[in-house]
Amino acid sequence: MLVRKVKERLFLAGITILTFLTILPLFHIIFSVAVEGLPVILRGGWDFIIGTLAPPDDGLGGIGPAIVGTFVLTFLASLLGLPIAILTGIYAAEYPNSMLGKATRTLLMIMMEFPTILVGLFVMQILVVPMGSYSALAGALALAIVMMPYVAVYTEEALRGVPEKYREGAFALGLTRFNVVFRVLIGLARKGILTGVLIGIAKVAGETAPLLFTAGGATRTYFNGIDRPVGAIPLLIYDLVQQPYENYHEIAWGASLLLLIIFLAIFLPLRLSLKEVKL
């Protein structure tokens, strides 16, 4: 008896510690980014958010072009990626046993783990080189490719999670398949789908690798059209930390905190406010 109880306690203690260790890095990241980044943003003030980059060893300037670029890229990527991804997810959920449905599912899983730097190289070859310029469009396409499998897989799983009786009920009312999916099932699965959409958006807002060969980067111009290079916050951070200058490292910390805030701002309120669907 005693041995069994001790074993149980040990097991519980073990998983508690491991759980703690798993989430520890998250809090450490948030903490250190806030501690290093907040003073920079406070010192830089409004200029840090709307201004352009300072020269080396000379003040903070601002990261406005990178912020605008990140919003433009994320928006364009969502525009390109979300409709296709959601429809793909619906297809995979509606036809789970067809050849194409099965293949779609497997391929989505592979796409999810695909090295993002290769996505960047691919887009460079098909878009950047023919267009003759790095561009917001190319960056957005690369991000859309990274985003799509997440959204599609979440959509599919959310739809599969809807109990069969709702589908049967809808069909029994005489609805067409289109109406069953878009009027009934999607409404019930909205939390799961929206989670996928948000994870996709939040993920690409912080991506660096797909942008290295596509977006081009910008520190002095905000936005010149979707066929011209744009900046992005992760790209800027990557660039700045490689420089030997103290002020560039400070700007990178400030930019990291802003990126974190943008990430949490997309993620938290919607996640929390979204009503659970009672089934």
Binding site: V68, V128, S133, G216, R220, T221, P229, Q242, P244, L270
Partner: protein, 360 residues
């Protein structure tokens, strides 16, 4: 799904607001059109270039210049593919690439800024160390094992050198700095030339002896020197200055011991400025020609970083803007007020020669 569309609308309106804000000043304020120049390439001259761009954009409000640092090779590739208007590269363009470029138009390669590779060390209590090329090669070969070796002692009779093993720090990644440093060692030591040679990566003899330490990038080398007492290594001037490391005075070709600074680096480039090819034949430039320059004040290990542009662009406004920018870099831009710490400007006889050769 309504919420998704609300989010999308929000993001859209934000993006549009951003565009609108940006759009206003360009359309209203100036009569002439704004020209945007895009460049990419070497990271070494990037801080200097950013400084120039900032100053230049203040003087010429209708030009916007964007530069992305991604390495010399990346810049050359971008330039070849026509993705950028100009590129920066530490090593001069090789002949094969130059010939390819010439099929599209006349490329021009200008030296724009000088840097130096310096030898730094960490020996407690020692602040002023002198070395000559042969001894330096001996240390990096591993032949000179202790700090109180007679070869080092003879050059530094006044120093109290410890009987400690020398730890040799070198770059672990592929690097133009290594290429320049090993090319210099080849010039001053036949033995080094035969046994090791030069390149972006070489087989360090000291590694086999167990006294070599590799560092990634200039920051890695600087950190390794700082963390290992009795070590010696090579790095770019800007990093040694920034980290306050002691710097070796090297013996130059004429037998004088010189430390790298504005005067000695400029003197070295001035001595060899006639060896620079015309910007129209940039591929003829050789790293060796700049090293171990003659002259009393010349520091022996210097290198230039280049800017590469086309002579003609389809867009004539762009052509004018590029020309003015390069011309400004080579004239006013070389004034000390526009030069960032750790960099050295070009001597004026060289910049004049270059500009005359392209007729600007």
């Amino acid at each position: 799904m309504k919420k998704v569309s609300i989010v999308l609308l929000l993001v859209l309106s934000l993006a549009l607001a951003g565009c609108a804000q940006q759009g206003k000043p360009t359309s209203g304020e100036t009569t002439s059109q704004k020209v945007t120049l895009i460049g990419s390439g070497a990271t070494f001259p990037q801080p200097q270039l950013e400084k120039w761009i900032d100053a230049y954009m203040k003087l010429n409000t209708n030009v916007v210049i964007e530069y992305t640092g991604k390495g010399s090779g990346g810049g050359q590739a971008d330039f070849e593919k026509g993705l950028v208007d100009f590129a920066c590269s530490d090593p001069p363009i090789k002949e094969a690439l130059w010939k390819k470029l010439e099929q599209k138009g006349q490329p021009l390669q200008f030296p724009m800024i000088v840097g130096a590779v310096v030898v730094s060390y960490n020996v407690p209590g020692i602040k002023e160390l002198r070395l000559d090329g042969k001894t330096l090669a001996g240390i990096f070969m591993g032949k000179i094992r202790y700090w109180d070796d007679p070869a080092i002692k003879n050059l530094n009779p006044n120093l109290d050198l410890p009987h400690k093993e020398i730890i040799v720090v070198h770059r672990s990644d592929s690097s133009g700095t290594t290429k320049i440093f090993t090319t210099y060692l080849c010039l001053v030591s036949d033995e080094w030339k035969e046994m090791v040679g030069s390149g972006k990566v070489v087989e360090w003899p000291v590694d086999k002896l167990g006294r070599g330490v590799g560092g990634k990038g200039n920051p890695g080398v600087v950190a390794a020197i700082k963390n290992n007492p009795y070590s010696i290594g090579y790095t770019e001037l800007a990093y040694a200055i920034k980290e306050n490391l002691p710097i070796v005075a090297l013996e130059n070709r004429d037998g004088y011991f010189v430390k790298p600074n504005d005067t000695t680096i400029k003197a070295a480039i001035a001595e060899v400025s006639m060896k620079f090819p015309s910007p129209k034949e940039g591929y003829k430039e050789k790293i060796e020609n700049l090293l171990n320059a003659p002259g009393k004040d010349s520091y022996p290990i210097v290198a230039v970083s280049h800017i590469i542009v086309w002579e003609h662009y389809q867009d004539k406004a762009k052509e004018r803007a590029i020309r003015n920018f390069v011309k400004w870099i080579l004239t006013d831009g070389q004034n000390s007020e526009y030069i960032a710490a750790g960099y050295v400007g070009l001597p004026s006889e060289l910049t004049q020669k270059l500009l005359e050769e392209v007729g600007w």
